[in-house]
Symmetry: C2
């Protein structure tokens, strides 16, 4: 008998019909001899709709009220799921973040969990109840509702799994696990049976959207095993855990991210302190700079480029307009059509030559590298957005990640996927 | 300076635009030198939509979960209103039933308030905040959310007004007060400046839909002055209070109710205990019998008629089918096209002849009386539904209630109003 935390995202509970399916799935877990605790997100687009209502009333809604507003989304889905489970003849009770003992700090809209006290959940389990917990929410020391930020339900699930000492935290979604790369881009992508926390974190921060980084960080810290799997099939997904049993591959996966933009400052006098001035001004203006490229200077004049999230671009542009006269630079240009492609793998540390092989492969495929950055277990290159698919595919093949079978879903190019994601922002 | 509780119903907060208007109204109350606490219902049809979602998942949803589900409606509207007030430059905070200290018994779906502890509301007022309280909800001794039943937000408002010792509890709606009768039926209806709790309760129970009976009962018990007024105009509405300053009229108002049905059992042997058998069977089957009419028997055979809410008709029919053979009656017939017209007035007690004048008026207008019932301050007659408008109008004139001015809104007959109400059930 295992004790399982099962988290279902907004897509899985978007309609009464889907909620019924989730209820059936939970009951099956019980029928297989396990104990189970459910964690749910808000139904479908509920959170976006609530944000829209708030925006119609206040350009800058008070964060305390915003959290109270958003938390209602999960309160609806939790009660509906509990009702659906009861309709199948099993006892169920819903619990808000407060009742599930999710204590947080007072940072409204992106609170951090400070304590987990799952006493009521354990009592419910002991009474044969299937507890359903509202994801994404907790309470602060004042007893006010807080929310954990977008995707915070994954974090709730991991925190509850740790709190009740569950054997596994199953995170159900519309993908059936973690792939070596996005199968919609590279149809020969392979589903991983296991992946280490470190590799998963690098993949997530490099643009792979399967799991929230914070949830994985929490899981790593408290050694909670995550099982990322499909809500629509019984197939095993991917286990995220400390040590994997598999022989270590050099490269675990390839992520791509088209949400960043590149800003280049031209004609910068190459004086001491100029870079510091630029990047401290950007930091003050809350621009998250990712990569920095400085060209070799000619005649004491150089170019400085950096990449940052597209969402930060208005603030970056502001900063540039203000700082350009101060540093006596000529101009700045923005390139939104870029993509970051990242090779990730803990095995990289003990295997030299990854960068050389990657650059050679890209070169053979006529893909120009606009910028490079590395960490001990990641190598990222920036390329022209139009070449994303080609870059991902040739690297995937070159590093031996190709599967024998071909992913069957209608294939979208990385560019089409990026367009869809931008639309959905 | 007055301390005012202002309650706004679902229609008043049905859209962001209307919420903004409510916020402006609250700010005006403050600008006029008063302190104000708002109580809100859920936006528009939210509660109905939530009930629909629950029904799709469970034919008999657990009442604890149902209350948690329904309570989210007010949690959304309260936060949005607080945001709208803040956007006008005034401090505001929302409070759930729990945070506002509305303690109830554990009767989910129609809990009764047991205690009001408005400490946090008083602290907020002292800090210059406009508190916004979620109507309709409280918590029981287990810390679980309860709801007060349909229209419970009025009761919340009265309870809060009592708890903070407010000068008045203003209940805003789409009507501008209590009228001598429904102005859509009788355009010469007159708005009352004041009405006593007792008259208001009789009018409400006789079908006048302005205020919830429970809220008025609570107000009478704790001596809270209610001011029923329009959300869409600044005009004074109607004060509901213990003693009115006005010279007492014989009749305060006329209510009509087309939601009841009449059931007649024909050919009943006039034996001892037959009536007891019929009405105890109806009571067991949860049929709320209103009026009972027994004809004078001929040859030991009689007819028994009763009226009950239309919603109880399926259960009444069930009961009849089961009991008919037992009491050896011939048949039963149902008449859904009836209306109850009620004259209400505390002054009736000291003024004999009301019944005589009413019957004479109806007779002169060729309106047949199908049944009669009375209380010390109410006289109700059942008439053919097609004659409702005529009955209300001639009684309104006969008892001197007509106003000099004519109500201007598009006039609907009582029958059209009844049809609309039935559709909306």
């Amino acid at each position: 008998m295992s004790l399982i935390v099962a988290k279902f995202g907004g897509t899985s509970v978007a309609s009464p019909e889907r909620i019924k399916n989730v209820a059936k799935r939970l009951v099956r877990i019980r029928q297989n001899g396990n104990q189970v605790v459910a964690v749910v997100s808000a139904m479908g687009k509920t959170t976006d709709e609530l944000v829209g209502l708030a925006a119609a009333l206040n350009d800058n809604p008070p964060s305390r009220e915003m959290d109270r507003l958003l938390s209602t989304g999960e309160q609806v889905s939790m009660t509906l799921l509990a009702m659906a489970i009861e309709a199948l003849g099993y006892k169920s009770m819903s619990f808000t973040g407060r009742q599930a003992g999710i204590m947080t700090d007072g940072t409204h809209n992106k609170a951090r969990i400070t304590k987990v006290d799952n006493e009521r959940i354990e009592a419910a389990l002991a009474a044969g109840v299937i507890p359903v917990i509202a994801g994404f929410q907790g309470i602060d020391a004042n007893g006010d509702i807080t929310t954990l930020g977008r995707g915070g339900s994954d974090t709730t699930a991991v925190a509850v799994a740790w709190g009740i000492n569950a054997d596994v935290c199953e995170i159900y979604s519309d993908v059936d696990g973690v792939y070596t790369t996005d199968p919609r881009v590279a149809p020969r992508a392979r589903k991983l049976d296991e992946i280490s926390y470190d590799d998963m974190l690098e993949l997530a921060s490099a643009g792979s959207g399967v799991l929230q980084s914070r949830a994985v960080e929490f899981a790593r810290k408290w050694n909670v095993v995550i099982h990322s799997r499909s809500a629509f099939s019984e197939a095993e997904g991917t286990y995220i855990k400390e040590e994997t049993d598999m022989e270590e591959a050099v490269i675990t996966g390839i992520a791509h991210d088209t949400s960043e933009v590149k800003v280049t400052i031209r004609g910068v006098p190459d004086n001491t302190g100029v870079a510091a001035k630029v990047f401290s001004a950007l930091a003050t203006n809350a621009v998250s700079v990712d990569m920095i490229i400085q060209n070799i200077s000619e005649d004491g004049i150089t170019d400085i480029s950096f990449t940052c999230p597209g969402a930060d671009l208005p603030r970056a542009t502001d900063t540039m307009e203000r700082i350009l006269p101060e540093i006596d630079a000529r101009e700045f240009v923005v390139d939104e059509d870029i993509a970051k492609v990242s090779l990730v793998g803990t095995g990289m540390k003990s295997s030299p030559g990854v960068a050389a092989r990657a650059f050679q492969t890209l070169g053979e495929n006529q893909i120009n590298i606009l910028a490079i950055s590395t960490s001990p277990i990641r190598l990222s290159v920036v390329v022209d957005a139009a070449q994303t698919t080609q870059a991902v595919r040739c690297l995937h093949t070159a590093f031996g990640l190709d599967s024998d079978s071909v992913f069957e879903e209608t294939q979208l190019s990385a560019e089409e996927i990026a367009a869809k994601m931008k639309k959905g922002r």
